[in-house]
C-alpha cells in the first residue's frame, strides 16, 4: 500500500547505488524502469517512445506509448488491452538489437504471452522477471530460468507461508465444492482475475472433465483470444441477460462483480475466489468469501528462492510485494546482495488492494 505515484516522481534514482556495475543497464525514471543503452522502458507507467512489455495485465501494460515490443503470443492480448498501437512481437529466446544492446524475451509462465526480459550489452546481462510462476499451466509456456548478472524480480508472495498446492489437489476441491452447491440448489460462482486465471481454471477443467461454465463478459472477450492462440478451454458461453435462476454451470467472473446485478440473476449464489491470497484464512474472511482456492499465477516462496539461485545473479532487486522480506533473506541467509526497488507494479493486481 505504501507505493504510490507521488513517491515515484522526481526521483531519477540510479538502480545500483553500490556501482559494482559501472554502467547500470537499468535505471528508474519517472516513467518507469529504463534502459538508457536501448532507449527503451520496461512496463512503463507513463507514455514513452519505446516500451518493452512483460505481459498484458493493467499494471504492466499501459496505453499511449509510441512503440511496443512483446513476446510472440502476447500481442493479441496486448492489442485488446491497449487498443490501436504499434506492437512488435518477438519469438521466445530470439534476441534482437535495440540501441547498443541485445534484447530477448523468455517464458515467464504467468499468463499467455508473458515474458521475462533479458538485456545484454556484452559486458553484463540483466533479467527482469516481470510477474512469473514456475508451476505448469496449460494456457502458457513453462517458465525458463535465465542466467544473468543482475536479476530484477517480483516478490508478491515472498513469505514461506506461500506454498502452492498441486493443481490436482485444488481441482478436486473445486469440483467437490461445485457439486455440493448445485446439489443444494445454489449457483457456484468463482471469482478470479479475468486475464489469465480464468482461462487457466477453464483449461484445467477441460483436462479433467466435460463440465461447462458460463462467464462474465470481461472473461469472454479474453477467452476468444486464448482460443485463437490454440489454448483449449472447457465448453463456455457468455452469461446473458436472459439467464435466470440457479445454474449448474460454474459462473466465472472478476472479483468486482461481488454484490452486483450480474450475480443477482443467479440467486442464490455461493461465492468462492481463486487466488494466492486465499492461503490465509483471515484474508478470505475479510473479503467475505467463504470458500477460497489457492491458485496463483505468481511465484511462491520456494520458486522465488530457486529462481534467484538458478539465475546465478550476484545482485538482485525486488520490485513489488514482500520486497523487504525477500531482500533481507537473500542478504542475510544466501549472501546475495539484494535491494528493494520501488515501482508501480502490483497496484492493480489481486484482491488485497
Amino acid at each position: 500500500m505504501g507505493r504510490n505515484f507521488a513517491s515515484l516522481r522526481n526521483k531519477d534514482t540510479m538502480v545500483s547505488k553500490k556501482r559494482r556495475h559501472r554502467d547500470p543497464l537499468i535505471i528508474r525514471t519517472p516513467e518507469g524502469l529504463f534502459c538508457p543503452k536501448a532507449k527503451a522502458h520496461i512496463d512503463p507507467w507513463r507514455p514513452v517512445d519505446c516500451a518493452l512489455i512483460t505481459h498484458a495485465h493493467a499494471d504492466h501494460a499501459r496505453a499511449g506509448s509510441k512503440h511496443y515490443h512483446c513476446a510472440q503470443g502476447g500481442e493479441g492480448l496486448l492489442n485488446k488491452r491497449l487498443g490501436d498501437h504499434i506492437i512488435e512481437p518477438h519469438p521466445y529466446g530470439e534476441s534482437f538489437a535495440l540501441g547498443d544492446v541485445q534484447i530477448s524475451f523468455h517464458p515467464a509462465g504467468h499468463v499467455l504471452g508473458s515474458a521475462q526480459i533479458r538485456i545484454d550489452d556484452g559486458e553484463s546481462v540483466w533479467v527482469i522477471t516481470g510477474d512469473y510462476k514456475r508451476d505448469p499451466d496449460p494456457t502458457c509456456q513453462l517458465f525458463e530460468p535465465v542466467p544473468c548478472d543482475v536479476l530484477i524480480t517480483e516478490a508478491t508472495f515472498a513469505l514461506p507461508i506461500y506454498r502452492w498446492p498441486s493443481m490436482d489437489q485444488v481441482m478436486d476441491q473445486l469440483f467437490g465444492w461445485w457439486d455440493h452447491h448445485i446439489r443444494n440448489q445454489r449457483t457456484p460462482v468463482l471469482l478470479c482475475y479475468s486475464l489469465g486465471k480464468a482461462q487457466r481454471i477453464m483449461a484445467e477443467i477441460k483436462e479433467r472433465s466435460d463440465r461447462s461454465v458460463q462467464v462474465h463478459g470481461a472473461v469472454a472477450n479474453l477467452n476468444v483470444e486464448y482460443e485463437q492462440q490454440g489454448v483449449e478451454l472447457c465448453p463456455w458461453r457468455r452469461a446473458s441477460e436472459s439467464d435466470k435462476g440457479v445454474s449448474t454451470d460454474l459462473i466465472i467472473a472478476p472479483p468486482q462483480v461481488a454484490g452486483s446485478a450480474f450475480l443477482k440473476r443467479f440467486h442464490p449464489t455461493e461465492l468462492a475466489m481463486a487466488s494466492g491470497w486465499m492461503q490465509v484464512r483471515g484474508v478470505r474472511r475479510r473479503a467475505a468469501i467463504h470458500q477460497g482456492f489457492v491458485v496463483s499465477d505468481h511465484a511462491d516462496w520456494n520458486s522465488l528462492i530457486t529462481t534467484v539461485k538458478e539465475s546465478q545473479a550476484t545482485e538482485v532487486y525486488a520490485t513489488h510485494g514482500e520486497t523487504r522480506v525477500l531482500t533481507r533473506y537473500l542478504n542475510e541467509h544466501l549472501g546475495i546482495s539484494a535491494e528493494r526497488l520501488e515501482t508501480a507494479f502490483g497496484i492493480e493486481d489481486g484482491v488485497d488492494q
Binding site: R163, G259, E270, V280, G282, A288, Q291
Partner: protein, 527 residues
C-alpha cells in the same frame, strides 16, 4: 463424517441452513464419542488450554533457527498462531479424506504432550504436525491452545442435535443444561422419552406490537385500551414448571444460564406458570441502560462479581399460563388482573380517560428510563405474531445531534465499494473533535454515492480500509438513548445511532458540543 470435515463445511458455507444441515449430518453419522467431543468444542463448553501459545511459538523458533525473524513475518501476515504453524509445518500435500474420528485421539496426544519437558515437546509437536493435513493441524492446535472458534452459535448446535435425533428443540435445551458429559452414550441419554414437564418448559409464540398509527389515533376510543411503558430490555418468557425454571428470549434463545439472579428470584413463584415480560438491567429502583444487559448476554461465564456490577431483574406484563391453565384466550384485562395477584415485579398499567393521558405518559417515558409507551387493546387475547389491532408501540422521538464526519470506511455486501460506514464526532471543551458514534445507514443511494466521491477526494490519511477525511461534512444523527462509557474517548455511548439527514446547510463549527449530550443525559433517567 469426522470433525475435520464438519469444520470444513461450517467454515466454507455461508448459509445458516447449510451449516445446520452439515451439523445434522455429522451428528447422525459420526462416531458418538467424536460428536460428543465436537459438541463440547462447538458450544464452548470446554476450552481448557493444554499447550501454551508461548510453547507453540518456541517450537516454531526452534525449527526456523537463525531465520526466526522470518517466522515472525509469517505470523504477522497470517495473524493467527495456530494457522501460521499449520501452514508452515503440516503436510501440504495431505488431504484429510478419512472419515475416522480424530478428536479422542487428539485429546490423548494433547494430554501426553502437555506432560513432556519443553524440548521433547517441541520435537514431538513438529513431527506430529508433519503427519497431519493443514486443516487437521490447524484444528489440533486451536483445540489444544484454547482458542477454537467457528461461526456457529450454541443455539444452532442445539437445534441440529434436536433435528438429528428428531426431538423437540426446547427439550434438548433443557436436557443440555448444566454439566455436559462427553461420552459415547450422550445421544442415548438425550433420546429418553419426553415428559409432560419438559413439554411445559417450552416457550409460547410471542405476541408482537405494531407501530402506533398516530393519524388514525384520532378515532380511538380511549375506553378500550390499556397503556404502560415500553421497557427497554430483552423481551422474554419466564417459565416455571414443576421441575425447572427457564428464560427464553424472543429470538428463540434459551438464555436461562445468563441470568441466574432472575432464576433465583423465580423460585418463589407458583409452579406451572408462564410470564411474558422484559429483562431489565439494574434494579427496579435504579434502572441501568440496555448496554449493561449486553454485557450479561455476551459473557460465557456469569461470575458473582458480574452479578453485582450488572444486576438484572424480570418485569412481567402478561400472564400466559397460571397453575397449568392456558390463559391466552382470556382478554388482556383478565390476564392483567390475574397477574396482579402474583408476587412478581410487574409493569404498571394505566387506563386512560382521554387521549391526553396517553400523551402525558409518553412525555414522561424518557425520564422513566423507557423507550415510549405500549398501547394494548383491553379485550385482546394473546396470539403469536404481529397481530393488527392488539398491541401498539409508540416510541419516543429519537434524540438528535449534529456531528462532523471524521473517518469513513467501505461498507459490506451491497455497499462493499462505497464508503458508507461513518465515524462522527462532536467538539469537546478543548475544541477538538472526538468521535461519538459510528453510523451505517440513513442516506439515500444517491447521497451515499456523492459522499463516496467526496470522501475519496478529501482523504487526509489512510489506515488500512479506514480513511480520515477533512472535517467538513455535518450530519444530523438520531439515537434512542445514551449512557456513560469508559471505553469511548467522548465518555458516552449512543444507542442505535443512525444518520437522519445530511446537513449541507451548516458547517463543522455549527456541530454540537459534548455538553449537548450532558444536557440530554440530565433529561433522561440517571445512569
Amino acid at each position: 463424517m469426522n470433525f475435520v470435515q464438519l469444520f470444513q463445511m461450517l467454515d466454507t458455507n455461508q448459509s445458516t441452513n447449510a451449516k445446520r444441515n452439515a451439523l445434522v449430518e455429522f451428528i447422525g453419522t459420526a462416531h458418538p464419542l467424536e460428536s460428543a467431543l465436537a459438541v463440547e468444542a462447538l458450544t464452548g463448553r470446554r476450552q481448557r488450554r493444554q499447550l501454551k501459545p508461548s510453547l507453540l511459538k518456541q517450537a516454531a523458533y526452534q525449527a526456523f533457527a537463525e531465520e526466526s525473524w522470518l517466522f515472525e513475518e509469517c505470523y504477522a501476515a497470517v495473524g493467527d498462531l495456530s494457522e501460521t504453524l499449520a501452514i508452515l509445518f503440516a503436510d501440504q500435500d495431505a488431504v484429510s479424506q478419512t472419515e475416522d474420528p480424530v478428536l479422542s485421539g487428539w485429546r490423548a496426544r494433547q494430554l501426553e504432550l502437555s506432560k513432556k519437558e519443553p524440548d521433547e515437546l517441541m520435537t514431538e509437536l513438529l513431527s506430529l504436525l508433519k503427519s497431519l493435513s493443514r486443516d487437521e493441524a490447524f484444528l489440533f492446535l486451536k483445540l489444544s491452545s484454547g482458542g477454537f472458534r467457528v461461526g456457529v452459535s450454541k443455539g444452532l448446535v442445539h437445534d441440529a442435535i434436536a433435528r438429528a435425533i428428531a426431538m423437540d428443540r426446547a427439550v434438548i435445551e433443557e436436557r443440555l443444561m448444566g454439566e455436559f458429559i462427553a461420552d459415547e452414550s450422550w445421544l442415548e441419554r438425550l433420546k429418553k422419552p419426553v415428559t409432560q414437564d419438559e413439554l411445559d418448559a417450552r416457550p409460547l409464540p410471542f405476541l408482537l406490537a405494531n407501530p402506533w398509527p398516530e393519524k388514525e389515533a384520532l378515532d380511538l376510543d380511549t375506553g378500550t385500551v390499556a397503556v404502560e411503558y415500553k421497557w427497554d430490555g430483552i423481551r422474554a418468557q419466564l417459565i416455571k414448571t414443576h421441575e425447572t425454571i427457564r428464560l427464553w428470549s424472543r429470538g428463540d434463545q434459551d438464555i436461562t444460564e445468563q441470568f441466574p439472579d432472575i432464576v433465583e428470584t423465580a423460585t418463589t413463584l407458583p409452579s406451572q406458570i408462564i410470564l411474558d415480560g422484559e429483562i431489565l438491567a439494574g434494579t427496579p429502583e435504579q434502572l441501568q441502560t440496555f448496554n449493561e444487559l449486553q454485557t450479561r448476554l455476551n459473557r460465557k461465564r456469569i461470575t458473582q462479581n458480574l452479578l453485582k456490577t450488572n444486576p438484572a431483574f424480570f418485569k412481567a406484563y402478561d400472564l400466559l399460563r397460571l397453575d397449568g391453565e392456558d390463559m391466552r384466550d382470556k382478554p388482556l384485562i383478565a390476564r392483567k388482573d390475574a397477574l396482579s395477584q402474583i408476587d412478581v415485579i410487574q409493569s404498571q398499567v394505566v387506563y386512560p380517560r382521554c387521549k391526553e393521558d396517553i400523551q402525558v405518559m409518553r412525555q414522561k417515558a424518557r425520564t422513566a428510563g423507557t423507550e415510549g409507551v405500549m398501547i394494548k387493546h383491553q379485550h385482546s387475547i394473546y396470539i403469536g405474531g404481529r397481530k393488527a389491532g392488539y398491541w401498539w408501540k409508540w416510541k419516543l422521538d429519537p434524540m438528535t445531534a449534529d456531528c462532523v464526519l471524521i473517518y469513513a470506511q467501505a461498507g459490506h455486501g451491497r455497499r462493499a465499494s462505497l464508503h458508507s460506514d461513518y465515524t462522527l464526532a462532536c467538539w469537546n471543551q478543548h475544541h477538538e473533535l472526538v468521535p461519538v458514534a459510528k453510523a451505517y445507514s440513513g442516506l439515500t443511494d444517491a447521497e451515499l454515492k456523492a459522499m463516496d466521491q467526496w470522501i475519496r477526494k478529501h482523504t487526509l490519511q489512510k489506515f488500512g480500509p479506514v480513511r480520515q477525511v477533512e472535517p467538513l461534512q455535518v450530519f444530523e444523527i438520531g439515537f434512542e438513548g445514551l449512557a456513560r462509557s469508559t471505553r469511548h474517548k467522548s465518555g458516552i455511548a449512543l444507542r442505535f445511532p443512525r444518520i437522519l439527514r445530511w446537513r449541507q446547510d451548516v458547517g463543522p463549527e455549527d456541530a454540537d458540543h459534548l455538553s449537548h449530550f450532558e444536557t440530554l443525559m440530565g433529561d433522561s433517567h440517571a445512569v
